[in-house]
Chain length 683, copies 2
């Protein structure tokens, strides 16, 4: 319940107290300087320190320190994203160069095609596992659990960031063969940067705010998406959606600010690197502006949404099945625990042999990278149209690969859809840092393209509405399909806006939103878990909404039987000896004081309280230390969900559970984490 | 703390229990039918009833009843919006037709120009005042207070809706002379439709959900914006921003769904009415897609944002001053309480005489309607450019009015900005249904246009960067200015997205967002109240965030001294006589039971409890009735803000305030409303 307008207040306070602090700090820093006579360049070091402190004063006088943190978060994440894109492009180009050079030598080409991604993925697996085992996978399920309030410090370490960043480069450099993306890991990377910057801000501010960390994590989730695609608004929406039950409005402006910084930096980097003359959308399309679609096509878009919803159910079923299979099959379980690198290498080798362009690969445009795939799918012109086929000659059309096999594009698209369905699911089992949104987005685009091409074919060959619908744009269907399918798989709506921001096309806003909503409605019906929910449950993460989706009966689970009965207690009349004993025995930050109405005492300065009590043993506990009368009581019949809601919404650290006037137990965040992990085991 | 996936559950439950209910209802309805022998067509009425019940079963089996409510909300609001646009366009055309016919008769033209809007506004004032006095003004401050949890049933009545709808048509038909918009009232209208539909849903569902009303209000706020402009996403963002402190994620999908329905319907209506061939943005622009802006122009956009922030501070100061002036000046106060119609007529007459095209009006393009003004300001071509001037001839350019006076466009724009500043502020005092966002949006567009035209002039006449920046687009600056200024005035970020959705231009997303963020930062600094905050405070609405902005010291106001000390209490050992006495004396829905730990007893079925106690007088209260052990305790030192937060976040109905083990008072929503109204009086 912090106020929204606290920034300006902080600011004025900061400006006022700045000079005083400055004097204090310089005087404090003078002392050590005099002590540390042995260090070189004392005078210049002192000068630099004074300059830095003055700079801090100037910065704080403009706005609160945390805003610089938000800006830095955006800029750093965007820089990382740009760096990754650059390295991946170079690595991909190397393979392409080698592959083209080996033209004519079938076996060598095959080896180049398969061993390059296989070794990269094996490297990514072994490297990320050996440096930090928490760096594998997407990271979004973990981020969701952290945003719900559970602390998971392992997932926010700098080592993890290092492992994830390098591992992800290797994964992405394996190209469209393994068919994995970068969004999820980038959200995770961004939270790691955010956690680090939040520590830094707290350090500079002098430990003023302890809540900054949670705020920074919410912002980081938005920045992750924004700086990955230069799409600030869908980043903010993603951040809203990823929250557990409520989005705090105090995070709204920081989210937008940081996401805008990230997106702007990402696009400026691509301008400076010579990718474009100005700041543009990542996958800029050239759809007809005058008449993007006929009003009646809205119905086709709605049907496409429903189709994508149905396909997503099928995809999610396969995904849940394979997650279960890898956990129950003894051979795979052993392989995945001991020989991660080998497993990744073998699986990617198999996938790559199937996509080899001289075998089945030519039916699924396997020579395209992920970017080229999306660009070709979003092209506004009809692929099979004879008018365009004639103009082929000088320069290959962006969709030429789709017709490389000589068969109609419908065959290629169908083969692509059928093969990639299980290949993507298989790729999800790889133990390496990888994102799963982009593959799903491209898969959805292919579904939409198939529908769009079909409609265009029917209307151009003179069906009934043929003459009227002469200019059906299959690219629009691909865009709507991409948004609808990825929205349905992840149970979110932000992909609709992501599709708009990625392409810079606003004319398709209404049909895309409609298709995404319908696909979501179908995918969410019957309380099926989403992609991330399935991952959360499979990894046994303490994330309540996922657990509830996987097992709806948990929503009525009472908190009483799950409580730890051995909680430490204090009475108001407690003496120093009892206080000391309880303080030593308990590890909780707060200890309940039970008399008439429950009160809490802070653990922070026990020694002071004890010394006060020792000096005046007649004093009661409530006279010696400050008791917090603000407390929340629950009954043992309250559900786990209610306790979780109270903890996360009120920002409370401790919730009391009282049964008919007697304290039955305490719920803290660590206790809640234990309870959730226990519940996850039961599923 | 309701679950997100409750819809599917409801659905399955609904489907199962549907048949049983159906049988029950038909049997229940057969009884009255037999009784009401005198009514005609019994057989067909029974048949229709059965059909309707079957239809309900079919509907409920697809999805929960509330989703039909959300869809209906979108469709109805969009229909109202379209109807209003149509009527307003007809009324405006009537005045234009008369004005053109009177060409040559100066006096008659003057009378037509001034009396038409004056009489319309006088009519709007008197009509809305006499039908429902709560229908004047924007309605957004009231909606914000309602969304924060305070019940204000007067503002949700159907009478209010009727008065507001007709009054708003009159206001808008007065055209650009009074310079008022429709967004705010539409948000209010939408909440009224939402409240009505929510009642209807509850009725059909058989009183299953009592919380549906609040959910529907949040959704309605999104629909209001979405169906006013066909802009669903900014509607949802507006709904997030308008919330008090937290946005519940369970409202997210309904908001999007309802907003999409509204926007789609609104655009389909305009297609069917022949306004366009397909679903398009309302103010579709034709900006250059290839190179919308140079990367360095980002800096100019940032400066424009800061400029808009500064101008907004000036505007808000004037607005606060005039709000204060109308309340303190005895003449105006009397006029505004007794002679609303006369006041509106006189003010509008004065404003209209100033904008008469043959006087000062020709310097401010006063012949344009609001729509034409925005279209002209957003035009991508440079106004003063000689290349375009040459092509004038067949058809007047969309900006021809701006050069009607013969003076350079810069003069017209400056006069427009200077005059409209105080004229808009004066129009804000009119006691009629009116929106204040659109005028601010257009004003911001004019600010941006001035900057853009200046930059285009400098670059075209060969300044240093002249050759490089040959194609500066002043329309882009107008768009950024509009978003930044309206965002700064209302302290929101959704206008940035509104600007994008209104024009269908995504290429300017990054600079618009940047300008809006900077303008917001400047406007929010120093904890100045926003436009709506000032209105809330002036109207003494019980809206805590506004009160806090107007008077920051209130954030530390303790709840203790504000409590009502005469709260009714019960003891666990209370007998039937005491229970009866307390139940009669208290009007609260819950009565606290104070023993060891505070518990609450529901007022719902007092008579049952009392009868139980009468039969077995030895029984204790906790054996006779169900006591709610789930309670929240606050200390008297807790701030009002904390109590408000607990009430709204936990959805709790009662919060106990306890001082050292003794109950000091209760906080309910009605109590909170009283406290806030008292605080508002103190400011």
């Amino acid at each position: 319940m912090k106020r929204l307008d606290e920034a300006p207040e902080n600011e004025s306070r900061g400006a006022m107290s700045c000079e005083r602090e400055n004097q204090w700090e310089t005087s404090r820093n003078d002392g050590p300087l005099l002590d540390q006579q042995w260090k070189p360049c004392q005078r210049s070091r002192a000068f630099v320190k004074v300059c830095l402190l003055k700079l801090r004063c100037v910065l704080v006088s403009v706005c609160g320190m945390e805003w610089y943190g938000y800006a830095a978060l955006g800029v750093v994440t965007a820089f990382l994203s740009f760096l990754m894109d650059l390295s991946v492009a170079k690595l991909l180009r190397a393979q392409q160069w080698l592959y083209v050079r080996l033209e004519g030598h079938g076996l060598l080409q095959f080896l180049c095609w398969t061993l390059y991604p296989a070794s990269l993925c094996a490297l990514a697996s072994s490297f990320s596992h050996s440096v930090c085992p928490f760096s594998t996978g997407s990271g979004v399920p973990e981020v969701r659990a952290m945003l719900a309030g559970v602390e998971m410090p392992h997932y926010l370490s700098l080592t993890n960031m290092f492992a994830k960043f390098l591992g992800l480069i290797c994964t992405l450099a394996a190209g469209s063969t393994v068919f994995l993306g970068k969004v999820g890991p980038f959200v995770h990377l961004s939270t790691m940067v955010g956690a680090y910057l939040s520590h830094l801000c707290t350090l500079i501010q002098g430990n003023k705010e302890d809540k900054a960390s949670g705020k920074m994590l919410v912002t980081a989730a938005a920045v992750g998406v924004a700086s990955c695609f230069g799409a600030p608004i869908s980043g903010v929406l993603f951040s809203v959606e990823v929250m557990c039950s409520h989005f705090a409005l105090r995070d709204y402006c920081p989210c937008f600010f940081s996401a805008a910084c990230g997106a702007l930096t990402f696009r400026l980097f691509s301008v400076w690197s010579g990718d474009g003359e100005t700041l543009q959308a990542l996958f800029k399309t050239k759809f007809s502006e005058a008449l993007p679609f006929y009003p009646l096509e809205i119905l086709v878009f709605a049907l496409l949404g429903l189709l994508c919803g149905a396909v997503s159910c099928c995809y999610l079923f396969c995904h849940r099945w394979i997650l279960n299979f890898t956990k129950t099959n003894p051979f795979l379980t052993k392989m995945l625990t001991t020989e991660k690198g080998l497993y990744s290498g073998v699986v990617v080798f198999l996938l790559a042999s199937l996509t080899f362009p001289h075998s089945a690969g030519r039916y699924m445009a396997s020579e395209y990278t992920m970017k080229q795939l999306l660009t070709s799918l979003l092209d506004s012109r009809q692929w099979g149209s004879p008018a365009h086929n004639a103009s082929v000659g000088q320069e290959p059309e962006p969709w030429s690969e789709w017709g490389a096999s000589g068969s109609p594009v419908f065959v290629s698209l169908t083969v692509f859809l059928l093969m990639k369905l299980w290949m993507t699911v298989a790729a999800c089992t790889l133990p390496l840092p990888a994102g799963y949104v982009m593959p799903v987005f491209i898969y959805g685009a292919a579904v939409g393209r198939l529908v769009g091409e079909g409609l265009a074919y029917v209307s151009s060959t003179g069906g009934n509405p043929g003459q009227q619908w002469a200019s059906v744009n299959p690219g629009g269907y691909a865009l709507a399909g991409a948004a609808a399918f990825s929205g349905a798989v992840t149970h979110t709506l932000s992909p609709a806006l992501l599709a708009l921001e990625l392409t810079g096309q606003f004319s398709y806003a209404a049909p895309i939103l409609l298709a995404t909503l319908l696909a979501n409605a179908l995918a969410r019906s019957g309380s099926r878990p989403s992609f991330y929910d399935a991952l959360s449950v499979s990894k046994r993460l303490p994330h309540l909404p996922s657990l509830l989706k996987a097992c709806p009966r948990l929503s009525s689970a009472p908190i009483g039987p799950l409580l730890n009965p051995k909680a430490a207690l204090l009475h108001k009349a407690a003496g120093p000896a009892e206080l000391l004993h309880v303080a030593n025995a308990s590890t909780d930050p707060e200890i309940p004081v039970v008399d008439s109405l429950a009160c809490v005492s802070e653990n922070a300065s026990w020694s002071k309280y004890i010394s006060v009590l020792l000096q005046a043993p007649a004093k009661h506990l409530d006279e010696a230390c400050c008791l917090h009368a603000t407390s929340v009581l629950l009954s043992p019949h309250s559900t786990v969900q209610e306790a979780h809601g109270v903890l996360s919404l009120l920002g409370a650290q401790t919730v009391f559970v009282a049964d008919r006037g007697r304290l039955a137990g305490l719920v803290t965040w660590s206790e809640m984490k234990r309870i959730l992990e226990e519940l996850a085991k039961e599923i």
